[in-house]
């Protein structure tokens, strides 16, 4: 829900009366099919990301950092 502009004194009180994430009402007779399109949303998750690949920039920088320090010792 968007917050409306209110006088500063009321701002604090009004915070108590807000739930930013109030679900929108569905129409009384609203029905829908769980279409394939809707299913797409449920397939947007990855659980195989925790791989052994260390060729990304971050990992390469980390490697350089660890090697530098090893040399310094």
């Amino acid at each position: 829900m968007a917050t409306e502009t209110k006088p500063a004194t009321e701002e604090a009180k009004m915070d108590l009366f807000e739930d930013d994430d109030e679900f929108e009402e569905f129409e009384i007779n609203e029905e829908w099919e769980d279409k394939e399109e809707g299913k797409e949303v449920t397939q947007q998750w990855e659980d195989d990301w925790d791989d052994d690949d260390v060729n990304d920039d971050f990992s390469l920088q980390l490697r350089r950092e660890l090697e530098n320090n090893a040399e310094k010792n």
Partner: protein, 413 residues
């Protein structure tokens, strides 16, 4: 406000009464609903309100007339409500509507069939929304806002009326959802417990019988409650249900579900694809996802700080903060893999000093004791398999699967 002539005013009042009476006697809920729907601010209701304000004695007329006396208990307070509403006096409009609603419930109980259920839904919605507006008005005038709380009590009563064996019971979930909205708004979420218990344990209710739209709303709110109570497995289940069954066109609602589901998924080691964050404008999670993938503790902390207010408001801050342990795990795993590539025979022995150096590179200053403590926690929570060799300040990692994946389970409490 253009007032009608007396004759026209009379006509509008008797017209409304006639429609109300016919709707009830023919059990025509489609015609009844608009007569109760204050928030629709329909031209016909507004013009009726003008007529009432002009006549001033319409109520006396209803009560005196035999024709309308049956409905007087409902319609008289409804008229008073309309009058107050039209004059922007919401603090008075609310109690009048509640009185009318109460009278309606009494009639509703006597009707055997559930023909008027949709009218009851309208009433429940109006009660909540009118109470909210009344409280805003009271608050703005420096008075105590207590109408929404009263609306909550009233709807609990309505819930009780529906919690029986007959066909009316399918309306109970809609009432529950209206109550959730009230309790969440008031911040009295502990009150959700008793309705939830009724819905989930009372034998008269079969969850599958309820309308889809109410089930989705119900799972969204109970899912949020599970997040607050840190029951992540249950939270994932409920929010995923809501997501899978939500109207695909309700983008705002899908976004809200994801807003709570994403932190839950993250805490069980499952990441949202960037497409999802982009489409539903949840980019505040982008750097957190990246931090987990990389093992970048600095990025996690900066992402938390950047969106601190937002995460605090939605109550997911603590859930996200706890991801630190998973980020540590990922970082250590990367160090391990890098070392293994250099010298496979020594890789399973990780010097704490190396970890300190990696953290320092991420601008995080930790001494030996602190790092030892973190690693101890990781071992304790089974994010790292291994043990300390204290004298040499080394973690000896298990040769098999030293960094177990979460595989959909939350980190041990």
């Amino acid at each position: 406000m253009a007032y009608p002539s007396m004759g026209e005013a009379h006509r509008r009042v008797t017209d409304y009464l006639g429609r109300f009476s016919d709707a009830v006697s023919t059990q025509d809920v489609a015609s009844l609903k608009p007569l109760l729907s204050l928030s629709s601010a329909s031209p016909s209701l507004l013009s009726l309100a003008d007529a009432l304000n002009l006549l001033q004695d319409a109520i006396r007329l209803i009560k005196q007339s035999e024709k309308w006396s049956q409905l007087a208990e409902i319609v008289a307070p409804l008229f008073r409500c309309l009058q107050s509403y039209r004059l922007s006096n919401l603090a008075d409009a609310y109690p009048a509507y509640e009185k009318a609603a109460n009278a309606f419930i009494q009639e509703f109980r006597n009707w055997d069939s559930a023909w008027a259920l949709e009218a009851l839904y309208v009433i429940a919605y109006e009660i909540r929304v009118l109470a909210e507006r009344a409280d805003r008005e009271l608050s703005a005038n420096g008075k105590l806002p207590e109408k929404l709380k009263a609306a909550g009590s009233f709807l609990m009563k309505v819930f009780g009326v529906l919690a029986g064996k007959g066909p009316k019971r399918v309306g109970a979930l809609y009432m529950t959802c209206q109550l959730f909205k009230i309790y969440f708004k008031l911040g009295t979420v502990h009150l959700c417990r008793s309705v939830i218990r009724s819905i989930e344990t009372a034998r008269i209710f079969d969850f599958e019988e309820f309308p889809q739209r109410d089930k989705v709303t119900y799972m969204y709110y109970t899912g949020r409650l599970e997040v607050y109570n840190e029951n992540f497995t249950a939270a994932e289940q409920k929010l995923s249900y809501a997501l899978a069954h939500c109207n695909p066109h309700s983008e705002a609602n899908i976004r809200m579900i994801l807003k709570y589901l994403i932190p839950v998924k993250l805490s069980i080691g499952i990441l949202p694809k960037d497409w999802l964050l982009e489409k539903y404008n949840l980019v505040e999670y982008r750097n957190i996802v990246l931090a987990l993938k990389r093992g970048d503790l600095r990025l996690l902390r900066s992402a938390l700080e950047e969106h601190e207010d937002r995460f605090l408001r939605s109550g997911v801050y603590l859930v996200l903060e706890k991801l630190e342990l998973q980020v540590y795990q990922r970082l250590l795993k990367k160090i391990y893999i890098i070392q293994k590539q250099k010298d496979p025979s020594k890789a399973h022995q990780m010097k704490l000093e190396v970890i300190i150096k990696a953290l320092k590179w991420l601008e995080i200053d930790m001494d030996l004791d602190e790092v030892e403590c973190i690693v101890a926690i990781l071992i304790h929570k089974n994010l790292v398999k291994g043990y300390f060799a204290h004298k040499s300040k080394v973690v000896v990692l298990s040769k098999q699967d030293p960094f177990p994946k979460l595989t959909g389970r939350p980190v041990n409490a």
